[in-house]
Symmetry: C2
């Protein structure tokens, strides 16, 4: 297969959510095995000004689905950030994956040169789609997958780097 905007985005996101889902399963099993309220893990965070686990999953969902929306012009589904349980986080991931499954590789053709405008408060910039994906969307997506991993290990869940790297067939 040759490099394409599709190859760089949706399969990478799907793989990342697979890693995240597997870690959430292990976290829920950890809570059950130790008689912990699993909601404590869902709300755990690394510092007071960082998002909790639930927020990391929500932002991984938004970052990836909004990237595909910006690159294709297809409207992404909106999710209300109301998840408070592992089951709800799994559903959020599933809904995000359903959106990705609805996008055809051909719909990302030409998106490398599509103009993408980013706004953070008063700051605004316009990037070509390729630049946007490589320097914003992918690093941002992996931030949330890695931070979710860090939160769970900080909480004592027995996962390791190989869980983050995921399966290699």
């Amino acid at each position: 297969m040759s490099l394409s905007m599709y190859r760089l985005s949706i399969p990478a996101f799907v793989r990342g959510f697979g890693v995240l889902s597997s870690s959430l399963d292990k976290a829920e099993a950890h809570a059950r095995a130790h008689g912990l309220d699993s909601g404590i893990l869902v709300q755990a965070r690394l510092s007071p000004d960082m998002l909790p686990l639930a927020g990391q999953v929500q932002r991984a969902s938004d970052t990836s689905k909004n990237a595909i929306s910006r690159l294709t012009g297809i409207e992404a589904p909106s999710f209300p950030d109301t998840e408070t349980t592992f089951a709800e986080l799994r559903q959020r991931i599933g809904n995000t994956l359903d959106f990705f499954a609805s996008v055809e590789p051909t719909q990302l053709e030409g998106s490398d040169s599509r103009e993408i405008t980013l706004k953070f408060g008063k700051f605004q910039t316009t990037l070509a789609g390729e630049e946007y994906l490589l320097t914003f969307a992918l690093p941002n997506f992996y931030f949330h997958i890695a931070t979710a991993h860090g939160i769970l290990r900080h909480q004592g869940v027995q996962i390791g780097k190989l869980d983050y790297l995921g399966p290699f067939a």
Copy 2:
């Protein structure tokens, strides 16, 4: 510019190290401002079985330079993981960036189909260069950049998500 193995790798790594360097500068300033031993930050970690800040920088260096080495066949410099200060971590990053500056974009041409063999203990697999970069090297690199960020925020250093995302021109 069109998608290429060069565009996907070295500029992304250089950008990531820029983000990391900036955060290390803020961490060192934070230690100075609060009269803290900066070595405490260098050795801080999120859990007992995770690498400290120094290790995150060392692995970001290794992951990225070894990826370029595997993709091009060029031998990467070897660094001994002896850094214990911010100055030494900056030097490690600088040495890694020097290696990237020595690689020409043309040297990565065709690396998308180059066979890359990965070994983890007894596990071994072979991936095409493209698959290796997208599913292993980039996620692994961002893991270490994001985890370094998480360690510093967990230690109270005043950095935020925009520091991680880095400058957009």
